[in-house]
Structures are given as C-alpha cells and as structure tokens.
C-alpha cells in the first residue's frame, strides 16, 4: 500500500511538474507577447505543441545516440525532479530526497545536458556540433558561480541535504535569499544561464545556428525534449525555491514562489539581446563569480 502510494506520488510529481512546466511556458509566451504589443497564444499552447510533436512521424535516423539523446534528457529531468522534495512537509511529493542529494543533483543536472550533447553530436549537423560546444562552454561558465553559491549555502547550513536546508528556512527571515543575498544573486544569474533565455541563449541562437543542438531533432524527439524541458524547468524552479525561498508547504505556495522566480529569466529574456559565447563566459566569471565568492565570505563572516 505504502509502495503504491509512493509510486503514485512519483507519477503525481511528474504530472504536476509537467503541467506547471507547460503552463508556465505558456504564461511566459503570453507575457512576452504582451510586452511585444500583441496578444499571444493560448496558455495551453505548449501542450498542443507537445501533443502534435508526439503525433508526428519521425523518420530521421542518425544513429543510436541520436535516439538516446532526447531519452537521456527526459530521464535526467525526471530523475532531477524526483530527487527534489517538492513540498517541505507532508508525505506526498517528497520523492527520493536523501542526505547529500544536493551534490547528486549538481551532477544529474549536467547529465541531461551531456546526453543531449552526445545525441546532438551524433547527428553530424555542424549547427548542432557548434551549439553543443557553445552549450558546454556556457556550462563551464555558469557552474562556477552556481557551485560557489551552493557551497555558501551548504557551509552555512552545514549540510548537503536539500531537506535540511529547506527545514532550516522555517520563517521568512530565515530564507536564504535574505540570509545570504549574494549567494542568491550568484545563483540566480547562473540560473539564467541554465534556462537558456536571452542573454544566455547562444547555444541555440537561431540567427547563426538554426536552433543549435536540437537542429536535427523533429517529431517525437523534439516532443521528448520539450516534455523534458517542461519538467526540468519545474524541477529547477522548485530547487531554487527550496534553496532560497524556504520551500513550499502546499502546491499553491509552491506555484506562487516558482512563478515569481520564473518571471526573472523571462523578463530579462524579453528585454535583452544575447551575449556571444565568450562574452557570456566572461560575464559569468566576473559578476556572478564575484557574488559567489562574496557569498562565501559573507557566510564566513556571519559565522
């Protein structure tokens, strides 16, 4: 019984993540549209896109990795999600969180990207290849401030368990965003890099790379990638909420917090052009890294 409940809990998590993911994306499309002086698509547009893509024939064959790449991505997003406790309390949505899961998360989050990279590399499309290399360069860029920020949190809370970090932020004043604003800034900028919104979308830059790594993926593969994207977006947002905004005790609270967080990259994405790869890396290594280091110093000073 208990097992059944846990398993159904996993599926519920994935379901919620997927739904929230595509609704958020739909919302961001509408918001973007409104800023752009137009009406925009219906909020469920991404769901239609995904269903359509799944229903397409996919007759492209570039070898095994090409098939596995998107599957990797989905697996990675789902895994990431399942290792993140969605709610602070309660039995539901706790998933596989365990001691030291933060470190694990750091790895698994990159895992999806690597899978994609391998898949894209196999397609032989130079656009994909260049996109992948740009993407990996960018990972190198944003991982440093992100790791620094996480380190600051881990040092501050003296734990690598996400659960415990969440538990420590029991009141608004204890939220890490206020406790360690530098870490938040560093992490959120890294987060921008992770979400691939402008100004950090150079791996996908249509202006020169068509659509970058997924250039050769269509139909089901693209559907998989978009599904994974929706789930992954939610996973990342939840992770950040857990890390900095004290997690959420119910789904509504979670929604509000994730949305607030989600608006940051969306809004910045609307009003900025993209950095070139080297500009992005330099940027990441400058300001966010500085904030990351500051956050650690801050923690050290606080202690």
């Amino acid at each position: 019984m208990e097992t059944l409940k846990t398993i159904s809990g996993y599926f519920a998590t994935i379901g919620v993540a997927f739904t929230v993911g595509f609704l958020f994306m739909g919302f961001s499309r509408i918001l973007t549209a409104r800023v752009q002086n137009r009406v925009g698509p219906p909020i469920y547009q991404n769901l239609l896109d995904i269903i359509k893509l799944w229903s397409k024939e996919s007759a492209i064959n570039h070898g095994l990795m090409q098939h596995l790449g998107p599957a990797f991505a989905v697996t990675a997003s789902v895994t990431t999600l399942l290792f993140i406790p969605v709610l602070r309390i309660g039995n539901w949505f706790q998933n596989f969180s365990f001691e030291g899961d933060l470190i694990f998360l750091l790895y698994i989050m990159v895992f999806g990207q690597l899978g994609m990279a391998l898949g894209a590399g196999q397609t032989g499309n130079p656009n994909s290849a260049i996109g992948v290399s740009r993407g990996l360069s960018q990972v190198v860029g944003y991982e440093i401030p992100f790791v620094l920020a996480l380190t600051a949190l881990m040092v501050y809370h003296e734990t690598t368990s996400l659960h415990e970090i969440m538990a420590a932020q029991d009141s608004i004043g204890a939220w890490n965003i206020f406790v360690n604003p530098f870490a938040f800034v560093a992490a959120i900028i890294a987060f921008l890099g992770m979400t691939h919104y402008t100004p950090f979308d150079v791996p996908f830059a249509p202006a020169e790379l068509a659509s970058g790594p997924p250039s050769e993926f269509g139909g089901k593969y693209l559907g998989m990638m978009m599904t994974s994207g929706s789930i992954f977006a939610f996973a990342k947002l939840t992770l950040f909420v857990n890390l900095f905004l004290g997690g959420a005790s119910n789904l509504l609270e979670l929604l509000a917090k994730t949305l607030a967080l989600y608006l940051i990259p969306v809004i910045i994405g609307i009003v900025t052009p993209r950095y070139r790869t080297e500009q992005a890396i330099v940027f990441f290594w400058k300001w966010p890294t500085a904030f990351g280091i500051l956050s650690i110093l801050w923690v050290v000073w606080m202690r």
Binding site: N37, P206, E208, E278
Partner: protein, 367 residues
C-alpha cells in the same frame, strides 16, 4: 573539436540570413576563417524580362527588385525615362515622390531595427518595429492601393493624387513613430548588452571605404558625409533642410547610430514636405503605353535608398522596349565583396548581425 575547421552553410534556408541567399563559412570553433557569399537563389532575370517588355510594362516589375523598399526602383526608372525624354515632372509630383521615398526609408529602417536586434536575440524589437512599420504600410495602401508593391511613381509624376486628409494621417503616424523611437532607444540602443554586441564588430577599414564602393549608412558610419540626396540632388531635396548624420566608429554600432539619426531626419523631411506641398498637377501624362517609345540614349540615375546609392543604368535604342536596364543595388557591393571581407576573422555569432548592419538584400544583388 575546437581546432577542426568546419564548413557551415548559412542559408539559403536559415533564419539568420537576410532573405534567400547563402554564406558559406569555414569556421574553427566560433571564429570564421573564410566566407563566401553565394547568391542567385532569387534570380528572376529581371533585366532580361525588362528587355522583352515595353516601357510601361517595366514599372510593375522594377518594384520587385528590392522587396523591403520598392520605391527607389520606381523612382530611378521613372527618372531615367524622364531624363531621356526630357519630360517635366510637376512640382507637386516631386514633393509626393519625396514623401513616398522617405516613407519607404522609414519603413526600411523599421525593418532594419527589427533585423538588427533580432539577429542579436532581442526579439521584442522586431515585434515592435515591424508592427509599427505596418502603420507606414497602411499609409502606402491608402495612397497607392498596395501595401508592399506600390507601382505608384511612374514616368511623368505619380499615379494618383493624395487622398483627402492624407497629410493629417501622415503627420499622425510621424508623431507616433517619434514617440516610439524613444521606446526603441530604451530597448535597443541604450541597452548595454546590445552596445557590447555592436561596438567594435564588423569594422570597415576607413581608408578603403571610399575605394570599395561602399555607400549609404556603412559609408557614413565611417565618417564620410556622402549621400546622393546632397551629392547629386534629385527631385526637390535641394529645397528641403536636412542633415546627413555621420559617425566615425566604422563598426555596426556606428551604422546603427547613423540609421537611428537618419530616421529622425526622414521624419523631419516628411513634415517639411507636407508643409510645403504645392498644389497643381501630379502627373504629366505619357503617351499611349501600348506604343510608347523613349528616345535613344543612355543614362545613369541614382537615388539614395535606405541602404545607399541605388543606381539604374538605362539604355534606350529608341524603340518601345528598353535596350538595357542594369540595376546597381547597394547590396551588390555590400553583400558580396564587403561582407566576405568583414566576415573573415569575425565571430560566428556576428554573421547575421553584420549582414543586417550592411543591409544585404539578395533580391537586388541578383535581380
């Protein structure tokens, strides 16, 4: 992977390319080693088609030569014929033509605003400026009956007079655009990331700029104050007050600023035109188009389009069909010789950006 030289075909099916053309790039990593422009995807054989059509039938064709800004084509052909025939153009028609050309310039610049920032990933800007361009197209639609292809300027004047109350609507659109220009500044030109992308990119060798046949904003972005409207004034440009802005950066940023400032100048020209618009005739009728013959001779006429000197070399052998109409689009030089040159050593991310700043327009390169 980094050191390997990859061949990248940018186009013809590619969102980053301006129109339907191809740039074949050899890249190592993100750096371009060599670039080759391939055109001809839009070749329709205009110049041949003009030789088998009579002088009147040529007019609907020429405006297709440059899709974003058809009017300089019409103006050029009309003026070439007028010169060969010695046909007078009524003053009102000349003012109307200036207005049309400047509106076309504005429309073209609005498209450029979109293209330039869109190619840098600022997707809000094209949504704004292309949407706002529609108001100019509305004016064109009202004036000429066509949104994009106007077929309005023709030998002897213009095709129809201004509609009732048209001047007011033009001025209203001008006010609107001026207001919007501030928004564009905020979003695009003040944007530090945009500046970072644009500055020092696509630098034209200033010493060579004149020799290479560069014209229009790229030339003015190198600090040379050359503009057909002042160098070789046509229509009533010598009766209007306007500035020809120049910048000295020689880079994409300088070109952007030049265009941005010209945008204001064009608005001011249109306001002056509406103020000074004389009455009278708008059309000095040409003979029956079925038998219209233009006296023999050859003439080179040029118009300052949004991208620079737009020239027509027209030869008539006295028959009812042109002997030769040769189009010199500014992109002919910008899009091939100059682009290939500028792309050498440039970053892959800047290709589309540089192309937009040069205003490469494939239909006028290959016609």
């Amino acid at each position: 992977m980094r050191e390997k030289e990859t061949t990248l075909y940018l186009g013809p099916q590619h969102p980053g390319i301006t129109g339907n053309m191809m740039v074949k790039l050899k890249v190592t990593g993100d750096t371009i080693v060599r670039a080759e422009t391939h055109v001809g995807y839009l070749h329709r054989g205009f110049e041949k088609l003009m030789e088998v059509r009579n002088w009147m039938q040529v007019f609907p064709i020429v405006c297709r030569i440059c899709v974003p800004e058809p009017d300089p084509n019409e103006e050029n052909l009309a003026r070439a014929i007028e010169t060969l025939e010695g046909r007078e153009v009524p003053e009102r028609a000349q003012y109307i033509r200036v207005m049309v050309l400047e509106l076309a310039r504005l429309a073209s610049y609005l498209l450029w605003f979109g293209g330039q920032s869109g190619s840098a990933g600022l997707y809000t800007m094209p949504q704004w400026s292309v949407g706002d361009r529609d108001y100019i197209l509305d004016l064109f639609e009202e004036l000429t009956g066509g949104r994009v292809y106007h077929m309005y300027i023709w030998a002897g004047g213009v095709r129809r007079d201004l509609p009732e109350g048209f001047a007011d609507r033009v001025l209203r659109v001008m006010d609107y655009l001026e207001k919007r220009l501030k928004h564009y500044d905020n979003l695009m030109l003040d944007n530090s990331i945009f500046q970072k992308r644009a500055q020092g990119v696509g630098v034209i060798d200033r010493e060579k700029a004149l020799d290479w046949g560069i014209v229009g904003p790229p030339l003015r972005g190198c600090g040379f104050k050359h503009d057909v409207r002042i160098d070789d004034p046509y229509l009533v440009y010598d009766k209007l007050k306007f500035e020809v802005p120049t910048e000295t950066g020689c880079d994409v940023w300088a070109r952007a600023l030049v265009r941005r400032r010209e945008f204001e100048q064009s608005i001011s020209i249109i306001r002056q035109v509406m103020e000074k618009m004389p009455g009278g005739d708008f059309y000095n009728k040409v003979p029956n188009p079925l038998h219209w013959k233009v006296p023999a001779g050859d003439v080179y006429v040029k118009t300052e389009s949004a991208r620079g000197e737009f020239g027509y070399y027209v030869v008539s052998d006295g028959s009812d069909k042109p002997r030769r109409v040769h189009v010199r689009g500014p992109a002919y030089v910008h899009g091939i010789t100059l682009l290939e040159h500028l792309l050498q050593g440039a970053n892959l991310a800047d290709v589309s950006f540089i192309m937009n700043s040069l205003g490469t327009c494939p239909p006028e390169m290959e016609r």
